[in-house]
């Protein structure tokens, strides 16, 4: 990727939630980069903070969330500096599109899908599409054709409950790209759908993103999916990005024990990963040192006291793990 000119750069981002027992850090030093037109997979078990990160990028943190530090740079500005009104007007939909996890719950049940999608375009359609409702309608119809909704004309007039989950998610894809954003955030866009539909939806998303040169952050807990569609992968564990690598390192070459375990097992529908013993720690009870330590097969004494630093293994591969850094350190003198 072109590290010089990323579209989105999340740097050392840290976020806490206010809980009964005080502030609990939910994201801690998250680093992430997405280049223009790139599809990034964001992977990790449930509860690792993926959705929280996506919400933070959109500026939609829940009440009681507090930014502890870091930056979210997008198109040259720090999104954390923008207030809600500006984010809503200038960033959402127009520059950063969003595809939700559960299309059944995310369409407003009382409004026709067409009017909901037109509402987005009304406020965020770029000038080249035009300002008129008919121009917006024309664009929507064309997109619905593209996402293979039968009879787009009548579909626009239907209510959400008249569609299947797969169709709703196609509509969500159309809505997300309608205003030609530079980046689309897709938060587990297929986990509410059945397996065959999953593949179709992701293939469609990839096809359209490539065609329009739209960057995508594809959030998932399924590393297998990522292998098919993503250019690069960032792995999150317990609110930290523990490893980032490009597609070609996927099959051999991933180094973090957590990533390796993710590769070895397939998630069930609920997102719990069989094969990795233990669970993701809750935000109020993070272990000291490396957060994966208590579950790690390669754990070292240092892991329980000190947090590993991010290590660049290659230009397209960074990892945070004492076992990995330790083996490098051990190797260096021998090579010299």
């Amino acid at each position: 990727m072109s590290a010089s000119d990323p579209l989105l750069r999340v740097a050392q981002f840290a976020l806490a939630f206010r809980t009964e027992t005080g502030l609990a850090t939910v994201l801690d030093g998250v680093d992430l980069e997405v280049a223009r037109g790139e599809i990034l997979g964001l992977v990790g078990e449930s509860g690792c903070g993926k959705s929280t990160l996506v919400r933070a990028i959109l500026g939609l943190m829940p009440a009681g969330a507090r930014v502890l530090g870091g930056r979210i740079e997008f198109g040259g500005q720090n999104l954390l500096d923008l207030d809600e009104a500006v984010l809503s007007r200038d960033i959402r939909a127009g520059r950063i599109g969003f595809i939700p996890q559960d299309p059944f719950q995310s369409f407003n049940p009382l409004f026709r899908v067409g009017s909901q999608m037109l509402e987005i375009m009304r406020w965020h359609a770029p000038p080249e599409i035009g300002r008129s409702r008919s121009a917006h309608r024309a664009r929507l119809l064309e997109l619905m054709e593209r996402v293979r909704i039968p009879a787009p004309d009548t579909a626009l007039k239907r209510f959400p409950h008249e569609f299947s989950g797969g169709q709703l998610q196609r509509l969500m894809i159309a809505a997300a790209i309608a205003c030609k954003p530079d980046l689309v955030l897709a938060d587990e866009p297929t986990s509410a759908l059945d397996v065959t539909t999953q593949q179709q939806i992701l293939a469609l998303l990839e096809e359209l993103a490539r065609e329009m040169n739209t960057a995508v952050i594809l959030v998932t807990h399924d590393l297998g999916l990522v292998a098919q569609y993503c250019d690069r992968v960032s792995v999150m564990y317990a609110g930290q990005t523990v490893e980032s690598f490009s597609h070609k390192r996927m099959l051999e070459g991933v180094r973090h024990p957590y990533t390796r375990l993710l590769l070895d097992c397939h998630p069930d529908r609920a997102g719990a990963l069989r094969g990795i013993p233990g669970i993701v720690p809750g935000i109020a009870r993070m272990p000291p040192g490396c957060r994966f330590g208590p579950r790690c097969p390669a754990v070292l004494p240092i892991c329980s006291t000190q947090r590993p630093k991010a290590e660049m293994l290659e230009a397209d591969h960074s990892v945070q793990c004492w076992a990995v850094s330790g083996s490098i350190a051990a190797r260096v003198p021998a090579d010299a």
Binding site: R92, P109, E119
Partner: protein
């Protein structure tokens, strides 16, 4: 849909029958002798007994009830013992006054209660919300007859701003009868002077009547908006940048209306009850004061007729509420 209406109308009949039965029993359980009232102070016991036999007051209660119900079934509400006029005629004369008053009060309660509820929810747990909630608790706690008398005392007697009772000032003739509601008829006749006078008469009783339902509507709206705001689709609508006012005023409001609309239906029934008292205080020539008069004179059939009419209106309103639901929510429409 018409099947739905027919079914609901048929279902209302047993309920109304139960209502009449209950009222009948209650009337005969409380002391009061219509024959004695009719005969007057100077009457001899023989005269009273003759009246009793004439009207059948001496018959067993079951027989009286059966006679009354068969009279209803033949389409007659009976004749007033006091005025010797058809009760249906008297009710038709008085109904518009009550409709005018209750509709005005409900419009007031809805038009103020819903926005205040939305504002309260929007500023959830901030000071404005607290202030509004305290006011609404006050509105529920206050006795409407006390409020009515206080309003009369303050605005009519002390400040001399508004008329103290009646529907029109002395010396004014009502406009030609169209709906029977003077504020509407005067507008239709182009008589702004009459409209102003009639409207001034409406304000105090209308407000006294509106306070309790206003507080209820506000509380239900607030609760409904708060629950809507937690919905996934509201998150989506924010994530795709619906402007705040559009989101609250169009989408969230519509999703939140179902509960308050149900309440408005139920409150219309309750308000007809409080109208009895308010009409008596403001000397408002409607069904309420008619009911008070009929109870005071032991005019049983008139009392029963008012109860029955109010019951019918209540049943109709409930059907209407379901139809409004269907209009608001397409999923309900499908079930009708």
């Amino acid at each position: 849909m018409s099947l739905f209406i027919v079914r609901r109308l048929l279902l209302a009949i047993p309920a109304l029958f139960g209502l009449v039965l209950l009222t009948f029993i209650l009337i005969h359980a409380v002391p009061g002798d219509p024959a004695a009232v009719l005969a007057g102070d100077q009457a001899t016991p023989q005269q009273i007994q003759a009246l009793r036999e004439h009207y059948g007051f001496d018959r067993p209660i079951l027989e009286q009830f059966i006679r009354y119900v068969s009279q209803l079934a033949s389409g007659s509400l009976g004749v007033s013992y006091m005025t010797q006029r058809q009760i249906s005629t008297e009710i038709i004369e008085r109904m518009p006054a009550t409709f005018e008053l209750t509709l005005f009060a409900m419009t007031l309660a809805t038009a103020i209660g819903i926005p205040l509820g939305v504002i309260s929810a929007y500023f959830h747990n901030r000071w404005l919300d607290h202030v509004l909630r305290i006011i609404s608790i006050g509105g529920l706690a206050i006795a409407s007859f006390w409020l009515a008398i206080m309003l009369q005392f303050t605005f009519s007697m002390e400040l001399d701003l508004l008329p103290v009772h009646g529907r029109l000032s002395q010396g004014l003739t009502p406009p030609p009868f169209v709906t029977g509601m003077i504020v509407i008829d005067s507008l239709m006749a182009g008589r702004l002077d009459l409209f102003r006078d009639a409207f001034a008469h409406l304000i105090l009783p209308g407000f006294a009547l509106a306070v309790a339902p206003l507080a209820t509507i506000m509380r239900f709206t607030r609760a409904a908006v708060l629950s809507t705001l937690r919905r996934e689709y509201v998150f989506y609508e924010r994530a795709v940048g619906y402007p705040r006012l559009v989101l609250m005023g169009k989408y969230v409001l519509r999703n939140s209306l179902v509960t308050p609309v149900t309440q408005i239906g139920l409150l219309l029934g309750a308000i007809l009850g409080s109208a009895v008292v308010i009409e008596a205080i403001f000397d408002w020539p409607g069904l309420g004061s008619y009911a008070v008069l009929s109870i005071a004179t032991a005019d049983y059939q008139a009392t029963l007729a008012v109860v029955l009419i109010v019951g019918c209106v209540y049943a109709l309103i409930n059907i209407l509420v379901d139809l409004v639901h269907a209009a608001v929510d397409p999923r309900i429409l499908e079930q009708l």
